[in-house]
Amino acid sequence: MTDQKMIRNFCIIAHIDHGKSTLADRILEFTGAVSSREMTEQLLDFMDLEKERGITIKLQAVRMNYTALDGQQYVLNLIDTPGHVDFAYEVSRSLAACEGALLVVDAVQGIEAQTLANVYMALEHDLEIIPVINKIDLPGADPEGVRKQIEEVIGLDASGAILASAKTGEGTQEILEAIIKHIPAPLGFSEEPLRALIFDSHFDSYRGVIPYIRVVDGSIRKGMRIHMMNAETSMEVTEVGVFTPPQKQVEELCAGEVGYFAASIKNVKDSRVGDTVTDAANPAPFALPGYRKATSMVFCGLYPVENNQYDDLKDALGKLQLNDASLVFEAETSVALGFGYRCGFLGLLHMEIIKERLEREYKLDLLVTAPSVIYRATCTNGDVVYVDNPVRLPSANDLSHVEEPYVKATIMVPSEFIGSIMELIQERRGTFINMEYITPTRVMMIYELPLSEIIYDFFDQLKSRTRGYASLDYELAGYKTSDLVKLDILVNDQVVDALSCIVHKEKSYQRGRALVDKLRRLIPRQLFEVPVQAAIGNKIIARESIKALRKNVIEKCYGGDISRKRKLLEKQKEGKKRMKQVGNVEIPQEAFMAVLDIDK
């Protein structure tokens, strides 16, 4: 048992690219948890995908031993946090597992919206915050300016901010000393019944789900029977351990400590992030606060391109779900696409990650329909229906009104871009809430926007219209009634259900025309003329036609190189195979995503 006085639990708050992972690497090196030789770049980012995207998706935690300048040996637990707005709840849980946080700000870029949101969240959790100004080695670094920003924007005392360069290692020791000095030791009650917070988990094929926990009160050890206070399930602990970073078994984890346990948990639903683990024989009277079930914000249909991959898709989704309780899916059938799954995600990034993992790790060839939010439809008879697939929107006759989810979006941007932001917000049906100059040249703008308007390409647009300077954070702000209609697309006079979408009435004509025009260009010519129409109810609002194919023939002889001819034909055939046959028409996969970028 480690004396709580000698424990420090902390996380790192930083905007993407501000150097969080590199700094974590330096700390691991400095404390000797990982030798520089073992250090593959940025150790905490586990999955290839994370490395590619330069962001952390899956949380990790590391325990380090550090002998401070006062000669005492401390145990430091670094809990990594995901760096994307989709994963705000996960961030809040890892913050809840800490007593302090390093606030890392890029000395060139300054504070970004995401950082701000996470700092506020950390302050809500009463975390002690140590400002670190990173990348001071870069030309253009303005540590003083950034120091001022931290004070003015966040209201933190930044006089003691540490100047660091995670790249060169400068400032690492100062950071570690500041952690010891400023971050409070945990104040759990060792004698009370066990209460441990689950802040993450992963699935191990031999040991089942491995929850990552912060023990708040009491202790957990092998052989103990435990109870999940929210999931209301009980199981026996088969192993407890810490991350060194490799997992290392220990006798027990006591109040203040961070580690993992195994209990042959088969389903990740039995160990959700945020749940409280207690002693089944001697349960705590109250669970730790802050637990909620992950809510899916974005839904889309996932369909195998080859129908025979349906079962593989189901298996793969099931396996991913073992690791990711926020992924939900249920079987659905589309007239156009056949059998597939409607999946719910925390956000668009989460959706893209799942899709890429399915394709990469499970070798599935997938067709993805346009993402949709959940609409709340109230029928004339008073029934309320939650619609996660446009197809399920009740018909106009039965509808009283439809509400859509709104978000409160915080955008931080250099003041020269105010005009561009206002224009973008206007296009996206946003309403102004507040604007504040945080420095003479930077403003924070707050708007309310329909979630559906930001899930597609809002962030890309924001970035491109501000030359990459804008940053965004948003949180759900409830449902509001909107004038929404279902837009159907007919190809060769048949409604293609997978192309239906719910749009604002004022935008429906423009969108219908754009969509039809886009599809005309995306769907290759067929052996007959194919009309493409957009309709609201029975009313056709746009129409184009795809002319019949007229010429497709290899005329060349290739000097008798028939293999080459055959390969060309095979390639054409392969291309055809990847299309979906809807009625008599072959529709390429991109067409089903067409709604995404018609505004471009």
Binding site: R525, L527, K547, L549, R550, K551, N552, V553, I554, E555, K556, C557, Y558, G559, G560, D561, I562, S563, R564, R566, L569, E570, Q572, K573, K576
Partner: protein, 378 residues
Amino acid sequence: MTFKGLYVHIPFCVRKCNYCDFCSYAAKDNEAAFCNYATWLKKELESWNKEDLDSISSVYFGGGTPTLLPLTDLEDIFSYIQKTCGLLPQAEVSMECNPGAINIEDLPKLREMGINRLSIGIESFSAEHLQQMGRIASAEDGPHVVEAARCAGFDNINIDLIYGLPGQTLDEWQEDLRRAIALDVDHISLYGLSLSENTPWGRAVAEGRLILPDEDLFADMMELSLDMIPGAGYHHYEIANFAKSGYECRHNLTYWHREDYLGIGVAAASCYGNIRQTNCRDLDEYQKSLRQKGIPAHEKECLSQEEVINEAMFLGLRLIDGIQISSFNNRFGVDIEKFYQKQLNKLFSFGLLEKNKGYLRLTRKGIPLANEVFREFV
């Protein structure tokens, strides 16, 4: 096995045209290979059994630009072929020729040597298009060479034309067809431009720097050809080929009939039984492989019987007369109407294929859409 056709690839050009993805090298940059090429070809031919070569009915010198080789080398190769192979008495001996790279005085000598069919790559009659294409010939060269070839005694002359060129109009193509007809040659091949990505034009199109005629114009050009050339007395016998009666290219028919042929030289393709093979495309590798292993084959495919039948289908259907069902069934021991029932019904229903007097053939609608048909057989 008995090869019916012999293809000889001469992979040298003065320079490469912007659209060309055939295997060819600039002669001046590959002097050693250029000088030794005749020797290599002889060596390659030597590696084959004489018995397999004793009833050759067609020889085809393709390229590249065969006439770029010195006449003495061409004579050397051809006399070696005559010595080694059993050429049938009426054998067709074709040679491709680029109007910009032929010495008119050589034409009588080529004829004398035994070349009895000349295939002239005119490609276009427009100076502007020729220049854009990167052809070395001028607009006058083509007709001039045709005339000279006639004088030299060639009584079987083909010309090649390409349509669907960047910026080409339907009127321009009509003019090209008129000029082609006016030359009164014996055989005309018309190829719609198709670009692979590894050509200058292919890249330019991919990058949006070059715009090709759209599908409708391209199709209109083909339709126009299918009206005009047969209207001038040529028999449309294969998708891209038109001939006066009796002048169908026997060598190319070997391909479409899926009979055995041997290809020698860099990148040359051969077919015998269920084997298809292609020689190394690289000059050095070709030579090295020839020296070390005696054979320069680089890719060899062994096809299953079903693949052989598939090929025979999509090759046979290139012929406008189509496939004679009974003889096809006898040759391969299948009943194609049963074997391909599903595919055939689909193609019949789309109006791309028809059955007529015991033949399966492309319909008029099916000719410009032939890939839609062929794809069912791969």
